[in-house]
């Protein structure tokens, strides 16, 4: 490579296209991060459990962590596109350099992407650990969930065999669901609480959550299970402890009468 080129290389950050890229990067990164987070988190809606709140913050963190990378790629692409364009049926002259490599750029790129990857992994593991612990909560209410084409049934084994097609939960009490299916695979999804677990015939699977908002939320089947899969939906009512107790009592009385 020529003299000129080497001296250029020593002060590579001074060239016009590098400056342009840097400015674009600084502009694009916050825009990508902001739009990406706002659009996604707004679509998700208000969380009804801590699990869901941490899903939302995870997605926000990941989006912000990804924004500088996406911003850099976008800045480089835009700079290239704003640069030396040629139209027509014949190729332009060949570029006036023959750069085939840049060990420094490549190494930086690989190291940064490795670090980001580790960051994503560790943040994910921390939340996963927390979710896993809640399965072992001895004070939790146990509820058996049974999927069958195309309804959900909820059994409350600790409350005189109460069984219901609508799920009632007391607010701020940990719950562990024991999930199975009578026929094909279904997937038990409590949307606003951010939990989902497949219902497999022949096995019992578990997931746990502590609802922290009073209200009515959605349960939807998230695994194609045949003809009326789209209609395999239901509601979960999160109520105060007092309301919950009285609901259990009336249900138990109904069961007794039946």
């Amino acid at each position: 490579m020529s003299e000129l080129h080497t001296s250029n290389k020593a002060q590579w950050w001074k060239s016009a296209d590098v400056k342009k890229t840097a400015i674009l990067w600084v502009i694009l990164t916050p825009i990508i991060g902001y739009v990406g987070t706002v659009v996604q988190l707004r679509s998700i809606g208000a969380p009804a459990s801590e699990v869901m709140a941490s899903v939302k913050s995870l997605m926000g963190i990941f989006t912000w962590a990804a924004a500088p990378v996406a911003g850099l790629v976008a800045a480089l692409a835009v700079t290239a596109l704003l640069g030396d364009r040629h139209y027509g049926d014949n190729p332009p002259e060949e570029a006036d350099h023959e750069i085939r490599n840049s060990p420094r750029a490549a190494a930086t790129w690989v190291i940064v992407s490795t670090l980001l990857c580790l960051f994503a992994l560790i943040t994910g593991l921390i939340v996963l650990q927390k979710d896993a612990k809640s399965l072992l909560d001895a004070k939790a209410i146990n509820i058996n969930v049974t999927g069958q084409q195309w309804v959900w049934n909820f059994d409350y084994p600790e409350s005189d065999g109460v069984r219901s097609e609508v799920l009632y939960l007391p607010v701020n009490k940990p719950v562990v669901f024991h999930i199975t299916s009578k026929d094909v695979k279904h997937s038990f999804w409590v949307v606003q609480m951010g939990i989902k677990m497949d219902a497999n015939p022949g096995y019992v699977t578990e997931t746990a959550v502590t609802p922290d908002k009073i209200g009515v939320f959605d349960i939807r089947c998230a695994e194609l299970c045949g003809l009326l899969h789209a209609y395999m939906q239901n509601k979960v009512h999160v109520v105060s402890q007092a309301d919950y107790d009285s609901w259990l009592k009336t249900r138990a009385a109904l069961e007794g009468a039946a």
Binding site: D89, H97, S102, W109
Partner: protein, 626 residues
């Protein structure tokens, strides 16, 4: 037989005597023999197969009959196309002579050779191109039915059974189309010329791999009329064992297609390893070749597993075995594992050749060398290696093995490192290039944009807690369309425009390529951004109706889908009109430096008169400043 040995087998339409068998077989005989065999076996089975005992717990006589008919179709079709002539003649010690081999290569047969068991790799490439276009057309039509039905929350005008069948049919044939869309047409037509070879290593296997795909298609079409593939493309058991006879069509389709992929994989890998031109060391081998080999080589471990999973499914259906039946000691999780051990590598089977094709085009349209060739190879190798170790990220919430979630999260997120390398190579090549503004060049930008979104959403999905929310929702559907279509198809369409002049001898109409590019890309982003949003709001995938809160997002997606359709129709028009009366292409319209541009249009039967000798890699663009 002796007479056949003595006369030139290629003499066309010898009116006097009967033509030898090898000349009489073509797609018509194949369809006839296949259909007749299927009907004969079907009737025989109907008459002679004993009824299921009334006390039996499984009724599977129908399954046996339909599977037997499908096998008969397959054997009949392959016999009728002439796939067995070579092996039989060889086994009986009368291998094909030179003239017969030249006939098989399609010498002097004009258009007819496209409907025969022709071994010339250029014919096979064109055949693959046409069949890919046909499958994409059918799959696209099905997609439009799905999107039209979802334009309204109550869905409505398609019956749920038919809707599920359409979703499954769309899914599986599009997966097949995207698997073959680059390695089929361009891997067969262009790749051997690019490495300076006269044909593939095993020309007859090449014909075999193509005609197996043709044989595989009717079963999946017929399945639509025998209950349909109502399980989605993943065909999970026990849902699949519960589904109607249409599932047998799926099983036959997958098994035949898997054989085709394995045959093509062995053939392409051998060709590249053994038949590169003199002097084409690994460092001088074009990056597209690496992409094709990585793709078919990944299919080599993946597709036998797919094959096996479907054989087991067929046995559960027809013989009441219990591989997947938990009531009798089996497990649906077994199926899920087998399926995704194929399923994840398979997505990179689709992606890698597409990115590699764009890497091949990048130096051509920026007039500068490929940036970091070695990193490109590292990236491809890294992705291929890791991609067989991540399958259970599709099963995080299946409950199969919660303790394995963390390790699979690790391997999955590691894939973003080699994926990042591919980004660097592309973006580094664009940097300080002289951009020649063509549709293939803009496709590189489109791929960067789409695959950025596809890749980042992939990271959310690989995070176990986030996946517990996102799995099974429209978000996943949007993610994989961003990767399969936004990245994969974008590269394939660019390849079509780029290699069209060599394959057809004519230039692809420039205006039409631009119009279709923008319609497809804009429509695509509208459609699948909308789909992300409804997924985040909680809409499950594969539903035929949905809560009215999802209406706006679905409407956006449907409008985007119609825009894509318009773009694809423009492209189809471009293919047909340019092929018929486009501008005649010069030998090297893009002034590129790979070998396929050094042969004349149309490419002569044996490609090269004298085989080339390679002295440098094909990326010597650009001049040093002086």
């Amino acid at each position: 037989m002796t007479t056949m040995m003595n006369r030139p087998a290629s003499a066309p339409g010898d009116a006097s005597g009967r033509k030898p068998l090898i000349e009489r077989l073509n797609i018509v005989t194949a369809l006839v023999v296949g259909t007749v065999s299927a009907i004969v076996i079907w009737q025989l089975a109907l008459h002679f197969l004993p009824q299921d005992a009334e006390t039996a717990s499984f009724f599977n006589r129908e399954d046996k009959i339909s599977l037997m008919s499908l096998i008969a179709w397959f054997v009949g079709f392959m016999t009728g196309i002439g796939a067995l002539i070579g092996p039989f003649r060889w086994a009986f010690g009368k291998d094909l002579n030179h003239d017969e081999n030249m006939f098989l290569a399609g010498k002097d047969q004009g258009i007819k050779r496209y409907f025969r068991y022709t071994t010339d790799h250029k014919v096979v490439g064109i055949q693959y191109l046409v069949i890919t276009i046909i499958i994409l057309f059918v799959g696209g039509t099905l997609a439009m039915l799905i999107r039209t039905n979802l334009g309204h929350p109550q869905g409505g005008w398609i019956h749920p059974q038919a809707y599920n069948a359409i979703v499954g049919w769309h899914g599986i044939i599009m997966i097949v189309a995207t698997i073959i869309m680059i390695t089929g047409p361009f891997g067969n037509f262009i790749m051997p010329i690019m490495i300076g070879a006269r044909d593939m290593a095993f020309p007859r296997l090449n014909a075999l791999s193509f005609w197996l795909i043709v044989a595989a298609i009717p079963p999946v079409f017929i399945s639509f009329f025998t209950g349909g593939i109502t399980t989605g493309w993943s065909a999970y058991n026990p849902l699949a064992s519960q589904a109607g006879l249409g599932m047998n069509g799926y099983i036959a389709f997958i098994c035949i297609f898997a054989i085709s992929t394995m045959v093509a994989g062995a053939n392409i890998t051998t060709t590249v390893v053994k038949m590169r031109a003199k002097g084409m060391t690994w460092n001088r081998t074009p990056i597209f070749i690496y992409g094709v080999v990585a793709s078919v080589a990944l299919a080599l471990p993946a597709f036998p597993v797919f094959f096996l999973s479907q054989i087991m499914s067929a046995m559960d259906r027809a013989f009441a075995t219990s591989f997947y039946n938990s009531a009798a000691g089996g497990s649906g999780w077994l199926y899920e594992n087998l399926f995704w051990i194929m399923g994840h590598p398979e997505v990179y089977v689709i992606l890698i050749p597409s990115v590699a094709a764009l890497m091949e085009m990048a130096p051509v349209f920026t007039r500068r060398p490929l940036f970091s060739f070695n990193l490109a190879i590292m990236g491809i190798a890294g992705i291929s290696g890791l991609s067989v170790l991540v399958w259970a990220h599709h099963m995080y919430i299946s409950g199969w093995a919660p303790l394995l979630n963390a390790p699979f999260m690790l391997t999955t997120e590691l894939i973003s490192i080699p994926t990042g390398m591919l980004f660097l190579v592309l973006i580094g090549t664009l940097w300080r290039g002289r951009l020649w503004m063509t549709m293939p060049l803009m496709s590189i930008f489109a791929l960067l944009w789409n695959f950025m979104i596809g890749g980042i959403t992939g990271i959310y999905l690989s995070d176990v807690p986030a996946d517990a929310f996102l799995h099974g929702s429209m978000y996943v559907t949007a993610h994989f369309h961003y990767t399969l279509m936004g990245a994969g198809l974008t590269g394939a369409l660019a390849s079509l425009v780029y290699w069209f002049p060599k394959m057809t001898g004519r230039m692809f109409d420039k205006t039409l390529s631009w119009v279709s590019f923008w319609l497809v890309q804009i429509g695509f982003n509208v459609a699948f951004i909308g789909m992300f949003l409804v997924g985040l709001a909680g809409q499950p995938r594969r539903v035929e109706s949905y809560a009215s809160i999802f209406n706006k997002g679905n409407l956006i997606t449907t409008m985007g889908a119609y825009t894509i359709m318009a773009g694809m129709l423009v492209l189809l028009h471009g293919v047909i009109s340019s092929w018929r009366n486009g501008v005649k292409a010069p030998m090297n319209p893009w002034q590129a430096k790979t070998l396929e541009w050094t042969v004349a249009n149309p490419v002569p039967l044996e490609n090269f008169e004298t085989l080339p000798v390679i002295t440098s890699d094909p990326y010597g663009y650009g001049k040093a400043q002086s």
